[in-house]
């Protein structure tokens, strides 16, 4: 079952790259995010799944659709500068490397979590990340104001 969901993620992500119409490409990306959220649910990560579906498939897609409607949805002919064959060859090399190293890979130490609940991880274990997120959000808001808005002091 997971394999089918993962295949769905990959197929729709590929469609998002290769479709001509920008709006359809963004909707394919949205469906891909929903599939990825379901994969997260099945991997025992409900919070990440909820976030993926609501934020990525919700907020970011809304931003994309807003931009597309503001800039016109035509897409010019895009002949790729680097042909797809180059990337396909790279991928084959990567899969050969992975298969070759698989028997020789050593298992390193994996420590299990010592937290009891997700709230404890987020607010007590990784509290500094929250301050980091606050500064990222501040930075994003001020950058948006700087790019789009007129300066309040005139000129």
């Amino acid at each position: 079952m997971n394999a089918l969901l993962l295949a769905g993620v990959l197929i729709f992500a590929g469609l998002a790259v290769f479709l001509r119409d920008l709006l359809k490409a963004v909707i394919c990306l949205l469906i891909s995010s929903v599939f990825l959220g379901i994969v997260f649910f099945r991997l025992n990560a409900p919070f990440a799944g909820v976030f993926e579906i609501s934020v990525v498939a919700g907020l970011i897609m809304v931003l994309f659709i807003l931009t597309i409607s503001l800039t016109g949805a035509e897409d010019t002919v895009s002949e790729p500068k680097i042909h797809i064959a180059f990337f396909a060859v790279l991928f084959l090399i990567f899969s050969c490397v992975v298969l070759y190293r698989l028997p020789a890979a050593e298992k390193l130490v994996v420590k299990p979590d010592h937290y009891n609940s997700f709230g404890e991880v987020l607010w007590i274990g990784r509290a500094f990340d929250m301050i980091g997120q606050i500064s990222v959000i501040f930075a994003g808001v001020f950058v948006l104001l700087a790019v789009v808005g007129r300066g309040r002091n005139g000129k």
Binding site: A25, L43, V55, V136
Partner: protein, 105 residues
């Protein structure tokens, strides 16, 4: 090294690799500014998949915290990028990155 620790093994490693390659292809081979940002988003999805599948039985709580933070950061970066696309469109009426080759790195 990666594959022994991933949930269900190889299939997650392969899908993560395919997502990353699709994302990089989209960034390097497409001329529309919005498509470049779509490629960036696909790369973030791949990394989120890697983190969750890598933390599957034992570290799933910390992995979820990391992925949630990554999603928040991506929202801010996408917002900044899309506002730049809107500003570029207002200034020169085109979102083709080829018209922006005046400055040669």
């Amino acid at each position: 090294m990666v594959n022994n620790s991933l949930a269900g093994g190889l299939i997650y490693a392969y899908s993560f690799a395919v997502l990353i390659f699709i994302g990089f292809y989209c960034i390097f081979a497409r001329r529309n500014m919005i498509r470049i940002l779509i490629g960036l988003e696909i790369i973030s999805k791949g990394i989120a998949l890697l983190i969750i599948s890598g933390g599957y039985p034992d570290n799933i709580l910390v992995a979820q915290a990391l992925v949630i933070t990554i999603i928040v950061i991506e929202v801010c970066v996408m917002a900044a990028g899309l506002s730049l696309v809107i500003k570029a469109y207002k200034q020169s009426d085109s979102i083709d990155i080829r018209t922006f080759s005046k400055l040669k790195g």
